[in-house]
Amino acid sequence: MAAFEPVLSRNWNVAQSHTLPVYESRGGYQAARKALTQMDPDGVVNLIKDSELRGRGGAGFPCGLKWSFLPKDRKETLMCINADESEPATFNNRILMEKDPHQLIEGIIIGCFATKATAAYLYVRFEYIKAYQILERAIDEARAKGYLGKNIFGSGFDLEIWVHRGAGAYICGEETGLIESLEGKRGWPRIKPPFPAVEGAFKKPTVVNNVETLACVPHIVERGADWFKSMGTPKSYGPKLYCISGHVNKQTCVELPLGITCRELIEVHGQGVWKGRKAKAVVPGGISMGLLSADELDTPLDFEAIRKPGCLGLGTAAVTVIDDQTSIVDYLYNCARFFAHESCGQCTPCREGTAWIYKTMKRIKLGGGRMEDLTVLGGIQANLGITPGTTICGLADGAAWPIKNALAKFRPELEEYIKTHQDPRYAVTPLQTAITMGSPTTAAVTPVSIGMSSPTGALRSPHSS
């Protein structure tokens, strides 16, 4: 393989890289000029199709294909740029926006030209205040220079970009949740069909793309589809920004060709597991994607190979390392808390299931675990996302996957934890168990009526504080 040349991150270490003059001095806006003046929209769509660029936002959906789903007879198209980046441990979009906003803007210009979108909404995560300010400034610069607005590069193409700040909800990263939120509504994902390409924001055909996906576009226009496909593994081409965090010596974001193994990423780029410890497990792409065990570290991190060890997908390629002194119970507890907090609450299985998993994990963590809880958790995760079609969006799948993978890969540890962490204060009472089974047997009830002051007290879980 020829020496890999980073493109997405090439300006990150350049002083003032977020300003237009610096960006242009490094060849910026040439790709946009080329696309708008020398190509036609379908040409750009076909080029992206040829490059087999897959979405970097999580689902890995082929970008060119998504663009070609727009109805042929549409009158108006909108573009939404998903910069809600809320997947835990993911921060590549943030750096892309803070360090090189013009690269993104150039990608948006080309993407909008290809899809004939005349308005682009940049949906920025609420917490990214700096990125928001930098983007606003960059957009002003670009507009002043005529790269946005009317008749860009004399091509007759008009475009405006509006920056919209989210309000702090993970679910608004889901594309239809994002659209609802953009429309000023509660971020409740929509049912599909219709897909956004047919009926999206404000009932108009809408393309939703991730920041990194669009950042790839100018480079493909500049260097061609073959260049893009010269990197990566089959079906997963091009460069990718990997985030490494957790128990490593160096927490960073690096650009690498798709398909690097997890081990190489940790050893070389993360400079190994911290404090001389070993990795117990690795989160491959944001917590929604599940877990890799220490034995599976040679799995290539691309869209396809990651499924083999049972993970949901590549996700955001945000790798989090969990060292061998960390309990999987703690990890699952944190995941469960996140999803219970972030479930939007419309689908019954997700709303109730995420909260149930959280409550169960909390009880196990505190010392009230029962062996059968593992079976119950196994059942809930199956109800949530593993059985396809039970919910509207993918959050439920994401909530289910860490549990699914942990039960498959770390069951002995979970069992051991339950055995060794028992605290009567948090234990399930016999009456609770009996009620659950629908048939309070005398055996189950008697000790309660003697031991506890009142059965109503037993109905309340003791760890309600």
């Binding site: 049912i191 419309q346 689908c347 909260a355 149930w356 399930v428 879980s461």
Partner: protein, 583 residues
């Protein structure tokens, strides 16, 4: 001819109708359980109860391909070649799972819950749920709150179907309700200080599949299984909303809307909803009265009727002019019998229309299905709903009868002007409205201008105090018959209550005066007679009207639109058939 396959059997789909899987299956006798779906509200598919296996049949090869994942029936159109499986283990397991999840945080307080007996959770638990669950954690207890003076929200019971929210957004477009917070802590709420008080607000209580939204007026008053339900029509305005009048121990307890796509769709207004109280009023007229030596005294009803008949006949024999006032609260059958009687007394007797109460202006809600979420809206069919300013149920029906008998309608005002010239020997005035007739001026005028004043009413009014004979008629709830609404749609209804002590149903009063029979008279027999005699009423041939009524002067077939089937959520289905009738 479009066909679809449901659980291995082929069925023909109806033409010109867009149905989703739930509706199509319902037509073919298969229930797909659901909570959040409602035929007039946008499809959100969030309760996930109606998930089924869906596939399609290749028209050429006949090969059946199933979608690998389960799909909500509410968002699945029933088209040519659609394949649905609703009874597989996969589907049944899914339903069990949803029931378990919905009940995790639901307080099992059915013994004190108003919804018990007509609750979606109870019914589906029995049919699709399971007896035990795996949940040993602490339940969430969401708060109870008031969303208006009339409606209480027990948030702990809510299952987040968002029907109530969508109703206020899409039907009334007032948007008082919304979802706040997230995940399992999500709540339905109002904006601080902005109550859910639009004129249709009460419908959210009916829409709520569980006991979360509660009508404070009904709260803890009755167990619903004790209520006998009668197909009735609201007398509150000329819309003629189809209602179920629900009664126990001789009292009405509530009105609930009944589906009629041509009239009220699924709704009723709050004014109509609470108008049931009139029929429970303990101060209603409870005896006949006769004036003797200047004093009104009680008298048995048959003596009163004999006295009416004798004095009117005597008046007519002496050539005295007789006027009768037909209240727009009379049924068409009553109007027909009274007119027949009065005209028999003397051909130059005058029939006038009673006072028509008007309040404000007509208000129409034009539901906008595009304000809902995106998606296929073809099987969302909300219709406009109008609250009429004309606060009586049957002006059109009475007018049609009056036109037949004297070719014109004499308005009450015209009549009183004429009365002021004092050429009437006897006046027979019927009232029976929801509100008592209180105009003292008119009462004095009528009294002063005639020798014989007969008043038939349900209220004790200033006019009754001045009358010579007072006849205690029936309230809207105590009679059966037919009303023609603002669109001249004729609809029949049953009596919900037996005549209160001391009163006699108006139809019986007129039948006795006519010497027809002393046995209880059936309104549909009179309607059959009417249909033969007055051409406008031909639609009611044989005393029968189609399911959703028929417009006067038309033929039945052309008058129904929309689904020919009665819609009701399965958990309220028992409201459809009346348990018994006093008609």
């Amino acid at each position: 001819m479009a066909t679809m396959i449901l659980n291995g059997q082929e069925y023909t789909l109806p033409d010109n109708e867009k149905l989703n899987a739930i509706q199509a299956a319902q037509r073919f006798g298969v229930e797909i359980p659901y909570y959040c779906w409602h035929p007039a509200l946008s499809v959100v598919a969030n309760c996930r109860m109606c998930e089924i296996e869906v596939g399609s049949k290749d028209p050429k090869t006949g090969e059946i391909k199933m979608i690998p994942k389960m799909v909500p029936g509410c968002q699945t159109p029933a088209r040519d070649g659609t394949v649905l499986v609703t009874n597989s283990t996969k589907v049944k397991d899914h339903q069990k799972m949803i029931m378990e999840f919905l009940l995790l945080n639901h307080p099992l307080d059915c013994p004190v819950c108003d919804q018990a007996g007509e609750c979606g959770l109870q019914d589906y638990s029995y049919e699709y749920g399971q007896a035990n669950h795996r949940f040993v954690e602490e339940r969430n207890v969401n708060p109870r709150k008031d969303v208006s003076d009339l409606i209480q929200l027990n948030q702990d019971r809510c299952i987040m179907c968002t029907r109530c929210v969508r109703f206020t957004r899409e039907i009334t477009q007032t948007s008082e309700l919304q979802v706040t917070r997230r995940g399992s802590h999500a709540e339905i709420d109002i904006f601080p200080g902005i109550e859910l008080d639009n004129p249709l607000a009460g419908n959210v209580v009916d829409l709520c599949p569980v006991g979360a939204l509660l009508d404070k007026d009904f709260l803890h008053k009755q167990r619903v299984w004790f209520l006998a339900k009668h197909d009735s029509i609201c007398a509150g305005c000329s819309t003629g909303c189809n209602i179920s009048a629900e009664e126990n121990r001789g009292q009405l307890w509530r009105f609930k809307p009944r589906y009629n796509p041509n009239v009220n769709d699924y709704w009723i207004c709050d004014a109509g909803r609470y108008s049931y109280k009139v029929a429970n009023d303990v101060n209603l007229l409870n005896s006949a009265y006769l004036r003797e030596h200047g004093v009104l005294g009680t008298i048995s009803i048959d003596k009163a009727l004999t006295s009416v008949d004798q004095s009117l006949k005597a008046t007519s024999k002496d050539g005295g002019k007789i006027g009768a006032v037909l209240s727009p609260f009379l049924t068409v059958e009553e109007a027909f019998l009274l007119s027949t009687y009065i005209k028999q007394l003397s051909a130059n007797s005058v029939l006038a229309l009673g006072p028509v109460p008007i309040e404000g202006e007509d208000k129409t809600y034009h539901p906008d299905k595009t304000t809902g979420r995106t998606g296929d809206v073809s099987f969302v069919v909300p219709r406009p709903f109008t609250i009429h300013a004309e606060k009586c149920p049957n002006r059109h029906g009475v007018e049609a009868v009056l036109k037949h008998f004297q070719g014109e309608v004499i308005e009450f005002k015209t009549f009183t002007n004429e009365v002021a010239r004092a050429d009437y020997a006897a006046i027979y005035l019927t009232a029976g409205g929801l509100e008592p007739f209180l105009d003292q001026g008119v009462a004095d005028l009528l009294r002063a201008s005639t020798k014989m004043l007969i008043v038939q009413d349900v209220h004790v009014t200033p006019l009754a105090q001045l009358a010579d004979i007072v006849l205690p008629g029936a309230t809207f709830a105590e009679k059966s018959g037919s009303f023609a609404n603002a669109d001249r749609r004729l609809q029949s209804f049953d009596a919900a209550l037996a005549p209160r002590d001391g009163s006699l149903a108006d139809l019986d009063i007129f039948a006795i005066l006519l010497g027809k029979s002393v046995a209880p008279i059936l309104s549909n027999e009179i309607l059959a007679e009417l249909a033969e005699i007055i051409p406008d009423f031909a639609v009611a041939k044989g005393g029968k009207l189609p399911e959703f009524g028929a417009v006067l002067g038309t033929t039945p077939a052309s008058t129904t639109s929309g689904s020919a089937e009665r819609f009701a959520d399965s958990w309220t289905k028992h409201r459809i058939s009346s348990v018994g009738s006093y008609a």
